[in-house]
């Protein structure tokens, strides 16, 4: 029998994986080519001589040698950005509004996940867990982070955005900025009252810090940290699940219907408020999961941990075309790649004048250039149609 509630569920699972592979390969290849061209141009330059004298390799060999590692790092952080960016873009889709509190939803997810791991560690569960067990505990922390962040997002929408639904667009935006500060301070207050400090460190457990060797080129081993692999797999799974939800299920179609025409959707029996709550739940959960993954990768979190990833994910959503789910995915991956490349090579190519800490500057500069030449983002449609 023909499946009437979708155009083949298998297609909706394979399609996004293919799409992500294309985005990763495309962004990675483009960045690599640019880097290789730059390395060729820099041969014989001061940077080249400096590398020759300190490390005994030319700039070309150095660049090419590091490429695989840089690509893996870019992909990892890119998927985290994509997961956060989807929250911004989904909410924008249904409400045409930027939820600036999303970065704190991310932070709340991170804290919920890390606190549950700390609690598990305190009772000794983490120490006793084997390899499989530690993956299980991380999965549990991920689910707790998603639940708490998703619940908070729904609550925030209900109390801070819904009453302002019919106000001018600027009003809920201000409300969101207020919520963002409020949530930061709620995390800080809760953490300092209960633990006496307001940053937390994820417990060391399992084999997340081990490195798996993927392959070797000559004498150089290309490896990937287990936690990066976990982040990539978890993110890809969630992005595929989200795509399936939105494309192939009845509620997913209702979300799209509401984002395209809320009045008609209501006339067809779709409860618009319910759909908006669901959107916040899904977007918030993804943000929370991204928070837990971020904590796993970078270990230390504080109440302000959401700001940078949040603003970058917002940039990624705009880069891809705000309101467009595929765009958020592409934007996240592209931004992650650019950042990883800038972080790895900026110091070497400028002989230390700009260090890896300037990677954010490069990421945002490129964002500004894209926005100037493609104001609707890489995959964006004409926004004026929506206004």
């Amino acid at each position: 029998m023909r499946n009437i509630m979708g155009t083949g569920p298998a297609r909706e699972i394979i399609m996004p994986i293919v799409q992500m592979a294309i985005f990763v390969a495309g962004a990675g290849a483009l960045c690599s080519v640019i880097m290789i061209i730059l390395a060729t141009l820099f041969q014989g330059s001061g940077a080249d001589h400096l590398l020759q004298s300190t490390q005994g390799v030319g700039i070309f060999a150095y660049t090419v040698g590091n490429l695989p590692q840089v690509l893996i790092d870019g992909m990892t952080i890119g998927f985290v950005y994509a997961a956060i960016a989807l929250g911004y873009t989904m909410v924008y889709g249904v409400l045409q509004f930027i939820n600036f509190a999303h970065s704190e939803i991310f932070a709340i997810g991170a804290f919920a996940g890390v606190e549950s791991l700390i609690a598990l560690n305190a009772v000794g569960s983490l120490a006793k867990a084997g390899t499989i067990g530690s993956f299980g505990y991380f999965g549990l922390a991920l689910l707790i982070g998603m639940a708490v962040a998703g619940g908070t997002a729904v609550f925030v929408e209900r109390v801070a955005y819904r009453p302002l639904r019919n106000s001018p667009k600027l009003v809920p935006l201000i409300s969101a900025i207020g919520v963002s500060f409020a949530l930061q301070d709620i995390i800080r207050l809760t953490e300092s009252l209960t633990t006496g400090q307001f940053y937390r460190v994820i417990p060391t457990f399992g084999n997340f810090d081990d490195r798996l060797t993927l392959f070797t080129i000559g004498s150089k081993a290309i490896d990937i940290q287990v936690k990066s692999l976990v982040v990539i797999l978890a993110a890809v799974t969630m992005l595929v699940a989200l795509n399936y939800l939105v494309k192939a299920t009845k509620v997913g179609k209702a979300i799209r219907a509401v984002s395209q025409d809320p009045n008609t959707a209501a006339l067809l029996g779709i409860g618009v408020n319910g759909v908006i709550s669901l959107t916040f739940l899904v977007g918030g959960s993804l943000g929370g999961a991204a928070g837990v993954m971020y904590a796993l990768k970078f270990t230390r979190i504080d109440p302000f941990v959401g700001f940078m990833p949040g603003i970058k994910a917002f940039a990624a959503a705009v880069l891809g075309g705000i309101g467009n789910l595929t765009g958020a995915l592409l934007g996240g991956i592209v931004l992650g790649m650019i950042e990883s490349f800038a972080g790895a090579y900026l110091g070497t190519f400028t002989q230390g004048a700009f260090g890896a800490e300037y990677k954010d500057m490069v990421a945002f500069l490129i964002l500004i250039l894209v926005i100037i030449f493609r104001p609707n983002g890489l995959l964006g449609e004409n926004l004026s149609q929506k206004a």
């Binding site: 023909r2 009437i4 509630m5 155009t7 009845k250 179609k253 209702a254 799209r256 219907a257 395209q260 025409d261 009045n263 008609t264 959707a265 209501a266 006339l267 067809l268 029996g269 779709i270 409860g271 618009v272």
Partner: protein
Amino acid sequence: MSVLELDNIHSYYGNIHALMGISLTVEKGEIVALIGANGAGKTTTLRSISGLLHPRKGHVLLEGKDISHLPPHTVHRAGLGLVPEGRGIFPGLTVLENLEMGAYIIDDKAEIEKGIQNAFSLFPRLKERAQQMGGTLSGGEQQMLATARGLMSNPTILLMDEPSMGLAPVLVDQIFEIIKELNKRGTTILLVEQNALMALSIANRGYVLQTGNIVLTDTGANLKANDMVRKAYLGM
């Protein structure tokens, strides 16, 4: 009991008194036309019935049940189907998905499938375009889709807002043929139209709306012959 009854409806946009006591009934199996000039309150009447606008005074009864203050999605569940003004096609959903959204309140998949087959038999064109995005359809095709989508939930009554708007004359004829055909198959229809001649030609009864009031009501044929209607709305 009438399928739909409006009892002395007063509706406002802010402080503007848009409907000043509208009363009308639609009986089972009828086509009732609501005609009037631009700004007479035709769309406001439909908004007041469908729950997008809540009347400040008066009652809207659907099969005897008061729906005056229900939100639109609940009104729809009570059995009211709507083909909105400007058709309201979801541009980024495929034709098939648009139809599925029309059956949002139905959980039985077999029934939804039956509705889709019914829509395709009424509008073979939609079947050809099933996987195409709604936004890529022509105006006539969008009107077909909006009509088919309105029927997906098996409504007790179908409200149609300006189905002929923006269509080429040959398509207008076609759309009115379709409305007649739907009615023959048992759908009760309240038709709001600026094209008074066409609307009155197929309607059992009609109401003439002028600046928020019903000024005239009669059978379709009588209204078509009425001097005032001929002068004001038929340009004769």
